[in-house]
C-alpha cells in the first residue's frame, strides 16, 4: 500500500497537470492559438509543418446560406473550430450520384450532392446545414461560445494501419515538454468511437517505445488494458510506426511554433504525403500513461530545466532517456553501427567472389586475419602457393622483424597481384610471418576495405577475425 502511494508521485494526475504544467508553461495567448484550429493550422503551415488542407470555412448563418455545396469534394471532414475531445466532427467517405434536386433562387433547379458516412448512412446538404448551425451556435465549443465550422481535406489511410483501424485515420499523440518528446501513443479509431481516434470517444491507445517507434501495450477507452483489436486476433504490440523520427521532430517543431511549454501533438500519416500534423493540444489527456503503463510526472520532472537548443537535439534526448532500447539512438549520435562480438560478414575476395561467414570481432587483434583454407575459397590460392615457396627466416628477434618485413617486400611484392604486404605477427603462440591480401567485407550494411593476413586457423572456431584497424566505423556491444 505504501509502495502504491510512493509510485503515485510518478503519475501525472489532473491536479498536477493543471497546477504544475499547464498553468506555468502554457501562456493564455498560446492556449488560445491551440484552441483555434484554423488559426493554429495557419501558424503551423507558415512554420513549414505539413497540415491537412483547409477546404472552406463557414463563420455565420449568412455564409452558410450562400455556400456552394457543389465545391466540396467527395470526401472531407467537417469540424468545429473550437471543438475539443473530438466532439462535433463529421467525416464523409464518398459521394453518391447527384440525385436529389434542390431549388435555388426560386427558379433554378440545382442538383444537390449526397455523401456517405463511415457507417454507410447518407449525409444530405440539409444534414450538413443542421450540423453546421449547431457548430456556429457553439454546441461543441468550449463554454458554448459561437464558433466557426470548417471543411478539411480527409487524409488517406496508410496500408499498414488498415487492419487495426475502424474506418477513421489513426494518429499519433506525442506529449512534448521543454522541446523533448516525453511519451507517445498510437490512437486507433474503433466502432464505438465512430471512426474517431480520441480515447474519450472510445478509441484504442497503444503505447509506443520512444526510441524505436514500436508499439508496446494498449488501452481501450479510458482504462481497459487489451492485447488485441477487439473482435479480432490482431496483436496491438510490435507495430513499427513508419517515419518515427520525423513524427517526433514535427511534434517538437510544433511546440516551438505554438509557444506552449507542455502540449500534446497529434500527427497522422497520410498514404501519399507521409506525416501530416493534425493539431496541438493545450490540455493533453492522461490516459497515455495507461497505454504506456508508465508515469508522465516522473519523466517530466527529469527533464525540467534542461537547456535544449534545437528540435533535433530534443528528439535525440527524448529517445535516449525515455526509450526502452537505445541502440538506434547510439548509432544516430555516434554515426557508428553497434555490433556484437560475433557478426555475419559478407567477404568479397579476388574477382568479386562473395562468401557469407560468421566472423569474430576481436579488439585484441590489430588487423584482420583469414584462415588459409577460407582464403583459398576467396580466390587467394595463388598467393598462398607463392608464399609457401618463399624461404622464411626461422629464428629472429623482435628487433629484426622490421628488417625482415622490408626485405620480403623488396623481393616479393608485385609477384602476385593480390599480394599486398607482409607482416610479422606476435601472438600467444609466438611470432609468425604472414602474407597480406586486399579484401573487402560488408558488415551490418557497411562496406570496409581491409588488408587481411592469411594464417592457419583451422583449429579455431571462426575462420575470420576482424581486427581493430577495420573496426573504426563500429561500436561493439559485448552483450549482443
Amino acid at each position: 500500500m505504501f509502495e502504491q502511494f510512493k509510485n503515485a508521485r510518478k503519475l501525472l494526475g489532473l491536479n498536477a497537470r493543471s497546477l504544475d504544467y499547464i498553468r506555468p508553461y502554457n501562456k493564455k495567448k498560446s492556449k488560445r492559438l491551440a484552441d483555434d484550429k484554423i488559426l493554429s493550422k495557419r501558424a503551423l503551415r507558415k512554420g513549414g509543418i505539413p497540415v491537412p488542407k483547409l477546404l472552406a470555412k463557414i463563420r455565420s448563418v449568412e455564409e452558410l446560406e450562400i455556400f456552394d455545396w457543389t465545391t466540396l469534394p467527395s470526401t472531407f471532414a467537417l469540424k468545429p473550430n473550437r471543438g475539443f475531445g473530438g466532439g462535433g466532427i463529421l467525416v464523409v467517405y464518398g459521394r453518391k450520384k447527384l440525385s436529389k434536386k434542390i431549388v435555388q433562387d426560386d427558379s433554378q433547379e440545382v442538383s444537390a450532392p449526397v455523401w456517405i458516412k463511415s457507417d454507410g448512412s447518407k449525409v444530405t446538404v440539409d444534414d450538413l446545414k443542421t450540423h453546421i448551425l449547431n457548430i456556429i451556435d457553439g454546441a461543441f465549443s468550449l463554454s458554448n461560445t459561437p464558433d466557426t465550422a470548417f471543411f478539411e481535406e480527409r487524409l488517406t489511410l496508410l496500408k499498414l494501419f488498415k487492419p487495426y483501424a475502424y474506418k477513421g485515420i489513426p494518429d499519433i499523440r506525442v506529449i512534448v515538454f521543454n522541446r523533448i518528446p516525453v511519451m507517445a501513443m498510437l490512437r486507433l479509431p474503433t466502432k464505438e468511437s465512430g471512426g474517431k481516434a480520441n480515447l474519450q470517444q472510445g478509441g484504442i491507445g497503444v503505447g509506443i517505445d520512444l526510441a524505436t517507434g514500436v508499439t508496446t501495450t494498449a488501452v481501450l477507452g479510458k482504462g481497459k488494458i487489451i492485447d488485441y483489436v477487439p473482435g479480432t486476433r490482431m496483436l496491438l504490440s510490435g507495430i513499427k510506426i513508419p517515419y518515427w523520427k520525423e513524427i517526433l521532430l514535427l511534434a517538437v517543431k510544433a511546440q516551438e511554433i505554438s509557444g506552449m511549454g507542455f502540449l500534446g501533438a497529434d500527427v497522422a500519416i497520410d498514404r501519399e504525403r507521409g506525416p501530416v500534423f493534425l493539431e496541438i493540444n493545450a490540455r493533453p489527456g492522461l490516459s497515455i500513461q495507461v497505454a504506456n503503463l508508465s508515469g508522465l510526472r516522473e519523466r517530466l520532472e527529469r527533464i525540467k530545466g534542461l537547456k535544449i537548443k534545437t528540435a533535433a537535439r530534443g528528439v535525440r534526448v527524448g529517445r535516449d532517456i525515455f526509450g526502452g532500447e537505445i541502440e538506434e539512438e547510439v548509432e544516430d549520435i555516434s554515426g557508428r553501427k553497434v555490433i556484437g562480438t560475433v557478426e555475419k560478414v559478407r567477404m568479397i575476395g579476388r574477382g568479386g567472389v562473395e562468401i557469407e561467414i560468421e566472423a569474430k570481432i576481436d579488439t585484441g587483434a590489430n588487423s584482420t586475419s583469414i584462415d588459409t583454407e577460407f582464403a583459398r575459397q576467396l580466390g587467394f590460392g595463388s598467393v598462398i602457393d607463392y608464399f609457401n615457396t618463399i624461404e622464411l627466416p626461422k629464428e629472429f628477434s623482435r628487433e629484426e622483424a622490421q628488417k625482415i618485413e622490408d626485405n620480403l617486400r623488396k623481393e616479393h611484392l608485385g609477384k602476385d597481384t593480390s599480394l599486398v604486404d607482409f607482416v610479422v605477427v606476435y601472438s600467444s603462440h609466438g611470432c609468425s610471418i604472414r602474407p597480406k591480401v586486399k579484401v573487402q567485407f560488408v558488415l551490418d550494411e557497411i562496406m570496409v576495405s581491409a588488408n587481411a593476413n592469411i594464417v592457419d586457423r583451422d583449429e579455431l572456431k571462426y575462420s575470420v577475425i576482424i581486427g581493430k584497424k577495420n573496426l573504426g566505423k563500429f561500436l561493439i556491444d559485448v552483450n549482443k
Binding site: L11, L133, S294
Partner: protein
Amino acid sequence: MNNVSPVISFLINQGVPLDTIILLLMLPVVVTLIAFFRQVVGIKAFGIYTPAIVTFAFLAVPQLRYGVAVFVSVILVGMLMRVALKGLRILYLPRVAITLSIIAFSILLLLSLGGYMQRTGLASVSIFPILIMITIVEKFVVAQIENGNRTAIILAVETLVISLAGYYLASWPILIRGIIAFPWMILITIPINIFLGKWDGLRLTEYVRFKDVLKNIK
C-alpha cells in the same frame, strides 16, 4: 441557546433572521466540501455552483426525500426530452426552453400526485427549491451534448451525492451550534482552500483509473 457569539446576537438584534445567518455562514463550509470532493476525491459533478445550490435547495425543503424526488424527476425528464427532441433538429436555446417547459409540467404532475397519495409534504414544498432544481437541467443538457448521455448521468449522480453530503454536513447540529458560538471559525475554510488549491497529488478516483499503471511502475 446558551453559547451565542456576540456577533450573532448583534445580527439578530438588527433583525437578521437566525436561519439566514446560519445559511450564509454555512455557505463557505459547503463550497469547501465541494472543492474537497473535486480536488482530493475526484468527484466532478456540475461545477461548484450546481451542487451548492442543490444543497441549499435540499435544506429548504421540509423533508429531504421530497427534494431528492424532485431532483431525480428533473434529470429523468431531461433525459427523456433529449431523446424526444432529437428528431426535431432544433437549435440549442429553443430546445432547452422546451425541455424546461415540459419539466415544469412534470413537476406540477408530481406535486399533484403527491397530494393524491396523501403526501402533503411534497405538495407543500416551496417554489424556490423547485425552481432551483429545474434550472440545473441546463447543466445536464450541456453535459449530454458535450460528453454524451453516460457522462451526463454520472455527473448528475455525482452532483446528487455531493449535495447529500453537503446537506448532512450543513444540518449537523454540532456544527450549527459551533458556528453560532464561534462564527469566526468559518475563516479556517480559507487556509483549507489554499491547501486544496495547491494540492497536486493524485485524486482518489485516479488511483482507480491508473491502478494498472501503478502496478507496473517500479
